[in-house]
């Protein structure tokens, strides 16, 4: 598709690939101050004691020995919680999961606080714990329970978090008349993945009279402002929340209880600044778990592999999303039924992997399609190509158009670049010259990232007298996403990117709500606000220009003007021109705009069309998301079980690219993550309970540069013109999650067996077990 020419944005725009994060040079010289880098006079340090049981009532906490340690100022527990803190997730009386914070030690330095933690004695009345999802699944009553009943929350009697049923067409009839059906019930449990931002969970707070100042690493600064207000009752105008930076968001900085802990601790020491800081061990216990999931899938096809029906029963713990979007927004399936259940366990429920939604469900999708293709004597790419949705198809349930539908183009790209059709072979049938087994796999899906949500989001753009623009929004730091906003402003105003600054960010006092930064919704929603604010500025600048001698001499009107590279010019005669600096320095009135986020937004987060598409008018609600496709080629050593990735092709539907290198970073790092998840990741478990108790990076076997072969990754951003997003853009989120599924599929193609990935990666032991050699 031919995309309109842009001045600053886009893959094809000269110079866009040279744009760097506005944070870059500061980071390279050690200047930025994250939360833990802040230091106030008289500052104290707080460390939490964490529960060492899965489920229990605390009968006694004895802090007397801890209080004797020189430098320990105070020890707080549930019993010292203020009234407002009793319903908030800070210090627990009933332990809901291993690692829950139960006491807080405040001391003059962090080491003293850590030492004192070990001296706090806790007596527990241990309660029965549910750790394994299988324990709940084995309970027939639980699995057949009326799923329409509302749930009252995390600690209600039920282990159900939510559940739902969706139906399309007549699944039973379609399956009955299908030429081919298969039920896949032995799907392995997928990996539970732990992904922690490098910056520890921490927050700093102090009180000044009845005003509170809080520093947190946030992906939603105004959301934190509001939630702290809701929890504590502190008036919004007396609550000042700042996010000076974010050392890895990864979806974990959306609802930080650390801020509440710091506010609480500071209050208890007469308002002195307190830095509450999790140790890495406690950060790992406290959060960062991917959910696990299992599904039973029945597929019906006609004799040519055209899907006619799909029946899915799906269960997961934590925040796992259902499998429906993967199937339903990727493939055309006329009849579909989905029964999904999410469970609460006595386990950490804070998922933190990059893309919490899709790897497990994507794997189920890939596994099922590959098996069906094999039964029908088709290649894996053929069954996908036969059923994949087209660029102009509407959502099969809602009937809404998609802002962009790029999955087809992504699949075409990786199949073509990899030469998949000529390399694929029947599973377990090809050896390389060195004796290793060759495999190749494919995956594609449309996922829920990149949505546009939040009409309440707003951005301020100001023109300064020197002709530069200042973008002020609620983003937390001038990382990639704030840099994107600057690029949008530059595009609309016709400024050089160097003439746009982001001087204020992460500040609840001085910015408007920039919205949530997780899940890429920032790009579209806040990008829309930035675009509108910049449009207002451009209008005012052009009006001011018409009063300037240069343009008044030719009787120019605002509509006669255009701008590029920080110069305003007459469209019909570009030699009549003036710089932004000349116009802004002589303008009589201040020039600025406040842009509001996209309107026509549904409660479920869908956005409205900003331009007509396929007969749908402006304002019509849309389905959003982004797409990916992957092909991976592997070599498997049948003697050692070692897997080597030979080549990996990843294509991502990006909408209009705003920031080229940011997109490539996201794709490259996403691909590496998938390698980590598929081949390396591990966990340390408590054998009796099955609980994951690993608290160190080394135990999780995180990938390093030694495991990474960048020259083997081939990345293809597939630009599309999103009719909902600003200037055709949408967020790309974490669409590279297909890599995990693709690698596992490639291993299957190599050895002819599905490796049991029960809560673990395809490490050599598991591969050998699949080969019957373990």
């Amino acid at each position: 598709m031919a995309l309109p020419e842009m001045k600053v944005m886009g893959l094809g725009t000269p110079g866009n690939d040279k744009i760097r994060s506005f944070f870059m040079d500061d980071l390279l010289t050690g200047k930025p101050r994250f939360v833990g880098d802040r230091h106030f006079a008289g500052q104290l340090y707080a460390v939490a004691k964490h529960a060492t049981v899965d489920h229990a009532n605390i009968t006694k906490i004895d802090a007397s020995e801890a209080l004797k340690v020189p430098g320990v100022v105070k020890v707080l527990t549930y019993d010292t919680n203020p009234e407002w803190a009793r319903t908030a997730p800070i210090l627990y009386k009933t332990v809901p999961f291993y690692g829950a914070p139960i006491a807080l030690i405040i001391a003059t330095d962090w080491y003293i606080a850590q030492r004192a933690v070990n001296l706090v004695k806790v007596d527990y009345e241990v309660l029965p714990a549910v750790i394994k999802t299988t324990d709940v699944m084995a309970d027939d009553e639980a699995m057949t329970r009326d799923t329409s009943a509302p749930l009252s929350g995390r600690f209600a009697d039920s282990n159900f978090q939510s559940s739902g049923v969706t139906n399309r067409g007549d699944v039973d009839a379609a399956l009955k008349s299908a030429a081919y059906t298969r039920t896949i019930s032995d799907m392995p449990w997928t990996t539970r993945y732990q992904h922690q931002p490098l910056e520890q969970y921490e927050a700093l707070a102090y009180w000044s009279g009845d005003e509170v100042y809080v520093y947190i690493a946030s992906q939603n600064i105004h959301g934190h402002h509001r939630s702290l207000h809701n929890w504590t009752g502190i008036p919004l105008n007396k609550l000042h929340v700042y996010s000076p930076g974010c050392g890895g968001g990864l979806g974990t900085r959306l609802n930080n209880p650390e801020a509440l802990m710091a506010v609480f601790a500071s209050k208890e020491v007469d308002g002195r600044p307190v830095l509450y800081k999790c140790t890495k061990k406690h950060s790992m216990l406290f959060g960062g778990r991917q959910f696990d999931a299992r599904s039973v899938i029945t597929i019906g096809c006609d004799k040519d592999g055209k899907l006619v029906a799909l029946d899915v029963k799906y269960v997961c713990n934590g925040y796992g999303a259902g499998i429906t979007p993967i199937f339903s927004k990727t493939l055309t399936i006329p009849n579909m039924r989905y029964e999904g259940t999410r469970l609460y366990l006595n386990d950490q429920d804070r998922c933190a992997w990059r893309c919490v939604n899709d790897p497990p469900t994507g794997y189920h999708f890939t596994h099922a399609l590959d098996l069906v293709a094999e039964d029908l004597n088709m290649r894996p790419d053929e069954i996908r190509l036969k059923n994949i949705m087209g660029e102009h198809d509407v959502d099969q349930d809602s009937g809404l158009p998609f802002g962009t539908k790029e999955v087809n183009a992504c699949l075409d790209k990786v199949l073509q670049e990899s030469g998949f059709a000529s390399k694929w072979h029947k599973p377990g049938t090809k050896k390389l010259a060195d004796g290793r087994l060759h495999g190749i796999g494919v995956h594609c899906h449309h996922d829920s990232h990149g949505r546009i949500a939040g009409s309440d989001r707003a951005t301020i753009v100001l023109m300064l007298q020197d002709g530069t623009a200042a973008v002020l929004d609620g983003g937390s730091a001038p990382h990639n996403q704030m840099t994107e906003q600057a690029i949008v402003a530059a595009e609309v105003l016709g400024l050089k990117i160097d003439d746009v600054k982001t001087p204020v960010y992460g500040n609840s006092d001085a910015t408007l709500n920039g919205g949530m930064h997780g899940g890429s919704s920032f790009t579209g929603s806040t990008g829309g606000a930035t675009m509108k604010a910049a449009e207002q500025c451009r209008k005012q600048v052009f009006e001011a220009a018409c009063k300037n001698a240069t343009f008044s001499a030719v009787n120019a009107k605002p509509e006669d003007l255009d701008s590029k590279d920080s110069v305003i010019f007459l469209k019909r005669d570009p030699s009549v021109k003036a710089t932004f600096a000349a116009i802004c320095s002589s303008a009589l009135n201040p020039i600025g705009g406040i842009g509001h986020g996209w309107n026509n937004v549904d409660a479920d987060g869908t956005g409205g069309l900003q331009r007509p598409k396929d007969g749908f008018e402006v304002g019509h609600n849309t389905e959003m998301g982004s797409a990916c496709a992957d092909v991976c080629e592997v070599a498997v050593d049948p003697e050692t079980g070692e897997v080597e990735i030979l080549e990996h092709w990843n294509a991502v539907g990006t909408g209009r690219v705003i920031y080229t290198d940011g997109v490539l970073q996201q794709m490259g790092s996403g691909t590496e993550l998938q390698v980590n998840m598929a081949l390396y990741y591990g966990d340390i478990k408590d054998i009796p309970t099955g609980n994951i108790i690993g608290t160190q990076y080394t135990e999780s076997q995180m990938i390093t540069t030694l495991d990474c072969n960048p020259s083997r990754y081939h990345l293809y951003p597939i630009e599309g013109d999103n009719h909902t997003g600003p200037l055709g853009a949408h967020g790309i989120g974490e669409p590279c999650v297909g890599g995990y599924c693709c690698i596992l599929s490639a291993i299957y193609n190599a050895i002819g067996k599905w490796v049991d990935t029960d809560h673990g990666a395809c490490n050599p032991d598991r591969v050998l077990k699949a080969l019957g050699k373990a």
Binding site: R20, S21, F23, M24, D25, L27, L28, T29, G30, R33, F34, G36, D37, R38, H39, F40, A41, G42, Q43, P70, G71, T108, D109, W110, P197, L198, E199, Q200, Y206, S208, E211, Y213, G245, G247, G248, G249, L250, P273, T279, K280, K281, R354, H479, N480, L664, Q665, G668, S669, G670, E672, L673, Q696, Y697, I703, T704, T705, L706, C708, P710, Y713
Partner: protein, 228 residues
């Protein structure tokens, strides 16, 4: 409102002023005493108790306070650390890590602490030309060593050095929390091997985690810095 004390780099301030500043000025709970700037002793403005942050105008006053308020707790000895070519004479508690002293005492917050247990590499500094995890080093044992931090790679406001520029060109940061550690390891590598291969780079950086998983661009940057 509390006064944030380290908005301006303390190193920068110390370098310019040639003075020692204590907790009252910098707000540190640490105890900082006489500083030598390239052999020139500065004067002390404040002494701060590391246990309760109370401030005193003289060392004797601090000692008296220590004796009465923290009976039985010994006042640590003075140690001299050479950081980025500058000698600092400090009183250091024996359990403080080098990372803690760099950050909390000297305000060199470019050295990040990710795991504080020697696994992530974010706190890497160069000690006598070798990259080392500052979270695992006791500061009190660093006398006589030459320590370099990310702040010492290029002067503030001046041109980036070769490794930093290569990181810039390759866009080798994402959230940036691991960047200082990677930079220091890369700098040490380039100093001992001016033109490392990709494989050598991957080995040299393997003690570092990037949870954004931006390894590809980091490796490209270091290879480019060496010109291979």
């Amino acid at each position: 409102m509390s006064k944030e004390t380290n908005l301006v780099s303390r190193r920068e301030f110390l370098k310019d002023a040639g003075l020692v500043v204590g907790g009252a000025t910098v707000g540190s709970a640490a105890l900082l005493s006489a500083c030598k700037n390239n052999g020139k002793s500065g004067s002390v403005t404040k002494y701060v108790c590391p246990l309760d942050s109370k401030e005193f105008d003289s060392l004797q006053a601090l000692k008296d306070h220590y004796a009465s308020a923290h009976e039985g707790v010994a006042l640590p000895d003075f140690k001299t650390l050479n950081i980025n070519g500058v000698d600092y004479s400090l009183i250091i508690n024996d359990y403080w890590s080098l990372a803690w002293v760099l950050r909390e005492t000297l305000g060199l917050y470019g050295t990040k602490v990710g795991c504080d247990m020697g696994q992530c590499g974010a706190c890497t500094v160069i000690v006598d030309d070798k990259p080392m995890y500052a979270c695992l080093l006791f500061a009190c044992e660093m006398e006589g060593k030459k320590i370099r931090t990310v702040e010492g790679l290029a002067d503030y406001g001046n041109k980036l050095n070769k490794v930093q520029q290569a990181f810039h060109d390759a866009n080798a940061t994402q959230c940036g929390f691991c960047t200082s550690g990677f930079l220091m390891a890369a700098q040490a590598l380039i100093e001992r091997n001016s033109s490392p291969s990709e494989d050598e780079v991957r080995h040299a950086l393997s003690g570092h985690l990037c949870m954004c998983q931006n390894f590809k661009k980091t490796i490209e940057a270091v290879v480019a810095a060496g010109g291979k």
